[in-house]
């Protein structure tokens, strides 16, 4: 059966840059999404410590927030980022995958407001947090 969620899932999994970063969508339903990104040496931002570059975490957060908007029941189509703020709370531990979880906490006819956190194996202690606004398409 072709459902809206399936189409959205296929869309997320077909994004060339997300594939280049090895992202795996583990959950996507009702305005919430979880995406894993494995550790990879090509994403390192500080060669001395082996810590992943903040930019790669941004790409993960942006994809995860976009996925959450696309599977929200009030959004019929795609989405685009209006703005995204990321707070880097600590360096991600080298060698560990990073998991992002995003939630649409408020959706209007035109805008979705989204929050996300990123964690490594120490799930109690987030690596980064994000808040963003995304476009909502379709219901006019």
């Amino acid at each position: 059966m072709v459902t809206k969620d399936n189409i959205a899932r296929q869309f997320i999994e077909a994004i060339p840059h997300s594939r280049a970063l090895g992202m795996r969508l583990t959950e996507m339903q009702d305005g919430e999404a979880t995406i894993d990104m494995p550790y990879d040496e090509k994403l390192v931002g500080d060669p001395e410590t082996g810590v992943i570059h903040g930019g790669a975490v941004s790409a993960l957060m942006d994809t995860c927030c976009g996925a959450a908007v696309m599977c929200h029941p009030d959004n019929r189509g795609g989405t685009a980022t209006i703005d995204l703020r990321i707070d880097y709370m600590r360096a991600a531990t080298p060698g560990q995958r990073i998991r992002a979880h995003a939630v649409c906490y408020h959706v209007t006819r035109t805008v979705a407001f989204v929050r996300a956190t990123a964690t490594d194996d120490d799930a109690e202690n987030p690596v980064a947090a994000a808040t963003g606004a995304f476009t909502v398409e379709g219901t006019s």
């Binding site: 090509k42 570059h53 942006d62 703005d83």
Partner: protein, 168 residues
């Protein structure tokens, strides 16, 4: 009577020193290589260049550059510009030996505290450019504003403001 000025350095010496400093900042970072970001120097002004590549696409239907790539491009340009400005005086005065810099490995880089990116237009499948302006630079913290455009300098497709912790 004015004291005789010291003879200006030959232009090749100046260029070599400045380019070596920039290479030391950029070449060692795997993620900058992965995205294919280059930094071009004119005097002390830096321009980030993101040559288009299919792996940077975030929306295959449009197609458009991934929002995360845009954010990363702005962040990289901000960090390199900040480090470059921070090192500039010491490199120019000779307090830091630029040729030794590359061999000794990367100088300590500023750490991003937070960065907020505005997406003004979708990033088209072509090269993008970015320049950063340091709006406040203190001993511990710095604020940087960075703008990115594609075909037309006056039509920005993204801008960002970030706060950074300076290396101690």
């Amino acid at each position: 009577m004015r004291a005789p000025r010291s003879k200006p350095e030959p232009v090749q010496v100046i260029k070599k020193r400045r380019d070596a400093t920039l290479r030391a900042l950029v070449d060692g970072v795997p993620y900058i290589r992965f995205l294919g970001i280059e930094l071009e120097r004119r005097g002390d002004e830096l321009t980030g260049i993101l040559p288009f590549d299919p792996k940077l696409i975030g929306n295959p239907l449009l197609p458009a550059i991934h929002g995360g790539v845009t954010a990363a491009f702005l962040e990289v340009t901000a960090i390199i510009t900040l480090s470059w400005t921070y090192l500039w005086e010491d490199v120019e005065s000779g307090a830091i030996d630029a040729t030794g810099l590359a061999e000794k490995g990367l100088p300590r880089l500023p750490k991003t505290i937070d960065i907020s990116t505005d997406y003004l237009r979708s990033g088209l499948p072509r090269d993008a450019y970015a320049r950063a302006r340091i709006t406040r630079s203190g001993r511990r913290y710095a604020s940087v504003h960075v703008e990115a455009w594609q075909d037309n300098r006056d039509r920005l497709f993204a801008q960002a403001t970030g706060h950074f912790l300076m290396p101690q």
